[in-house]
Symmetry: C2
Subunit: 391 residues, 2 copies
């Protein structure tokens, strides 16, 4: 008698959440030290001290807990637009920023804002599994491009997949789960292709840039995508850069020079309204406004990356070298990555099978964890490698 | 090329928001004192000092800004369930509470969780206008019962409106916009009717109780609805009781003894997921957990009610006497309430026409404002009364 699609979504947690809950139970049973939980993208690094200070400074401010305007506090949007202009040379204005409850809300809202009947959104494997949930909830059809072995953009597949129903393409760089960061050249090729296809079909194809990992990159450029492709809608979150995933705070930035930008922005406002997002949390809006250009100590993730990547490569695992985000994507030693994930549990290793990322045969290791836990986990990974005769 | 329904929702603000924005501009133009903004349900009373203290106490806590589990922190849900048990004798358990970004999110999620194809939700005029937006966004059809002159439950209309497609009935007591509080006897009649209709059609009819004003009532009982009707789903918000509307924090409480309660709860979790609500804001979850049984100084609203209700009645306006919430519902002196709202602007009075509440010919006055502003506004109301020859 309830909506069965919703019931199924509620009963079948994502593979990530399933593993995380399993880990919680195992820790309670066996002790914290015997579980190596690499399941969740929950930042291990504390938020900057300035975040707590900002929260405390604003906590008693008169009116701070009142409704803001639906798109968000204008002062905060001005701070963000200024940061984007100063940092990336973006043409962003506050009038085209819409504050959201994190990137998940931003994506859900953008899909809903854009989707008309029979519309399709293209996802590039490996991709964050909830994209398909969000796109379907908006009444659109997700179309998944096959993964390239190097986790780059699969241009031939993209060229073949775009059709008259293509409303947008989702891009996530630095990438969850692969850690790949698309180069400027790769993005320029992507932009050229989309421009050509948009012209061919006579309507814009929006690039939906999911960017929660923008600030987490190691010695590579993370190009600002609206600069390369005008019809870009950025979905941003402070979850990772400020270690605030539970606070649900981020934004949608519609490029003011995008095709039909005013219509897109209005539809974003309308979708936010229809989905029950009255405004983004008001205190946290002000806090992130204060924190433009500030990040948590993301160097910890680089150390973790180096430690884990080098050790696993030495053990014979085939890994994508992460240039950003805090995930290591590892080729499963046998094709059945779910079996490997299951097998790894006996060593206390919680590794997410790639299947739900559109990458069967791979495993995701979230290394946003204590460096010491990684160190302690290495003998367990060695046992796993030995079981599969990698060395 | 965008979704036109969403664009329209974004371009056409609600009548309330429209008036509020008009007021903001007028204040900037003419000065704060010449505008009497009665448009928005933004609580005038500051949050309890304990709220700020709780925010500051938790701000630097380790892990406080991490993801909670999707339904919310279990400790917080336990605090809420205990409060509901202790206060109302509810059978509520934490396992059936789902923390949300306020009541708007709660309602959107519940509509989405329940709605199957061709389903209908019944709304009772006068009702909060966004209900229709939320129900339609879930793919359901809102069915509106005509308003009774005393703003009570229109039982004959309800009996006639229920059919095989009726999935739920929305109830909002204390009521926005009328301030009516349904009596225990009225709710018992409602429950009896719904039980009979559910038996007749062979499926449950859920009562969706939107309760942001539960603690704002003047000398009348606000019965706890799940106690009277098992198939009740409570949508609660701390926006009004703790004066935190911008923080977006509330919950869905599925009655554990409701028909198919486990399925309903799973569908609520699934709908939250599909709509991009990863978890409710984590810091504020803990804060409201601490604040069970605490409210802002709601006595201010009683003083405002008495002052405004008595004065307007004396001027010859016909008013529903509000027993709760912080709205006064006034019969417009002429049938065209939009014209009266427009006319009132010349005196700086911002009154929301009842049309969008399903109550043409009425006006809503939100008296969650400074008492002094009400006092200063009375001569302006007198001018309005004179224009319409009420005295």
């Amino acid at each position: 008698m309830v909506n069965k699609d919703m019931q199924n979504l509620g009963e079948n947690r994502s593979a990530i959440r399933e593993l995380f809950e399993f880990g919680r139970l195992r820790k309670a049973e066996l002790g914290e030290d015997s579980v190596f939980d690499f399941s969740l993208g929950n930042p291990s690094v504390a938020p900057p001290v300035a975040v707590g200070d900002s929260i405390k400074r604003h906590a008693d401010e008169r009116g701070i807990h009142n409704y803001t305007s639906a798109p968000g506090d204008y002062g905060v949007r001005t701070q963000i637009a200024r940061y984007l202009r100063d940092t990336f040379g973006a043409v962003q204005t506050p009038e085209y920023i819409y504050m959201t409850c994190g990137a998940a809300a931003a994506l859900t809202i953008v899909f809903r804002a854009l989707a008309c009947e029979a519309d399709e959104f293209i996802l590039m494997a490996p991709y964050f599994p909830e994209y398909t949930v969000f796109a379907k909830a908006a009444g659109a059809r997700p179309v998944v491009l096959a993964m390239q072995e190097d986790c780059g953009i699969n241009m031939p597949a993209l060229a073949a997949a775009v059709n008259e129903h293509t409303k947008g393409v989702v891009i996530n760089s630095p990438n969850n789960p692969s850690g790949a960061v698309y180069s400027r050249a790769a993005l320029q090729s992507l932009a050229a292709l989309l421009r050509q296809k948009a012209a061919q079909y006579g309507h814009p194809i929006y690039l939906i840039a999911d960017e929660p990992y923008r600030e987490i990159a190691y010695d590579v450029e993370v190009p600002y995508i609206p600069e390369l492709y005008a019809d870009t809608i950025v979905c941003y979150s402070y979850s990772k850069s400020l270690s605030l995933p539970g606070e649900r705070i981020g934004y949608v930035a519609v490029n003011p020079v995008a095709t039909d930008a005013a219509d897109v922005y209005a539809a974003v406002c309308g979708a936010g309204r229809a989905l029950g997002y009255v405004c983004a949390p008001s205190l946290l809006q002000r806090v992130v406004g204060d924190m433009q250009g500030v990040t948590s100590d993301v160097e910890v993730y680089r150390r973790n990356r180096d430690l884990l990547y080098n050790a696993l490569c030495e053990m014979g695992f085939r890994c994508i070298r992460p240039d950003g985000a805090f995930y290591l994507f590892v080729k499963a030693p046998i094709e059945d990555s779910e079996a490997v994930s299951e097998h790894a549990k006996q060593y206390g290793l919680l590794l997410v099978p790639g299947d739900s990322f559109g990458a069967k045969g791979w495993l995701r290791i979230a290394y946003c964890v204590d460096t010491d836990m990684i160190r302690r986990s290495l003998p367990q990974f060695a046992k796993l490698a030995a079981d599969y005769r990698l060395i």
